[in-house]
């Protein structure tokens, strides 16, 4: 799988489509179902943040997810029309309960950090963003 991509609008209904896309392509590269699930979860969490928070479920906004395999290293790119948020600014540990609410928070970003080897975020011309996650599938 040298390179494959999926374009989707910023609606939550697309989350199952995104994860099935990732699962399908990972199955051709990885035999460990736990590893496949971990990477799928990390990609879905990144996309969910962009869909639900950065783009506020605006169906007019289009995102593109790209998977590239270089040797055993998977590069995951998410092209997002919204400005980037700093994933590194979030607390290292998830909040079991958000202050003033009874809802937990930060689980998605915490999972991304636990699963993915590296994530870089770049602001593009015009204010859009590219998230680049790297995972060595042989490790």
């Amino acid at each position: 799988m040298p390179k494959t991509s999926l374009q989707f609008s910023a609606i939550a209904d697309n989350l199952p489509i995104i994860r099935h896309f990732v699962q399908t392509h990972l199955k051709s590269m990885v035999s460990d179902p736990i590893r496949i699930n971990q990477v799928t979860v990390a990609v879905e969490e990144l996309c969910a943040n962009s869909i639900l928070h950065a783009n506020k479920e605006d169906p007019e906004k289009e995102l593109r997810l790209e998977l590239r395999l270089q040797g055993s290293v998977l590069h995951i790119y998410l092209y997002d029309p919204a400005p980037p948020y700093d994933i590194h600014a979030y607390p290292a540990e998830p909040k079991l309960l958000r202050a003033g609410t009874n809802r937990p928070g930060g689980f998605g970003i915490y999972l991304i950090r636990r699963i993915i080897d590296r994530i870089d975020i770049r602001r593009r011309k015009g204010g859009s963003s590219v998230y680049h996650m790297v995972k060595d599938l042989s490790a």
């Binding site: 736990i34 971990q38 689980f107 998605g108 999972l111």
Partner: protein, 106 residues
């Protein structure tokens, strides 16, 4: 995701089978249904979620499980997961939830 009430529970127990994928789309449905069931069954002390056919768990799903646990605890209700598939167990474990609630493997 499908939620089925199983009939093998005692008077103080509620057993539910979860089938499918628990994510940002389906997690609110689980919370709503669990809350309704708890309200409709006073005196309940144990809820067991049978997860053999739960195939996927995202952070939103894990968050709802934690929220249910926290909301039910003051009512004297314990929430547990059983027959959890390895992939789902791994996500719960990464989040540290296997230390906060009873979770057993499939």
């Amino acid at each position: 995701m499908q939620i089925e009430v199983l009939q093998d529970g005692g008077a103080n127990e509620l057993h539910l089978a979860l089938r499918g994928e628990l994510d940002a789309l389906t997690a609110p449905k689980l919370y709503e249904q669990l809350t309704q069931l708890v309200q409709g069954k006073p005196g309940i002390s144990q809820i067991t979620l049978h997860c053999r056919e739960l195939t996927y768990l995202s952070s939103a799903g894990a968050g709802i499980l934690l929220m249910c646990m926290d909301n039910f605890a003051p009512k004297g209700i314990t929430l547990g997961l059983t027959e959890v598939q390895p992939e789902v167990y791994n996500i719960l474990d990464l989040l540290g939830l296997t230390k906060l609630m009873s979770v057993t493997h499939a």
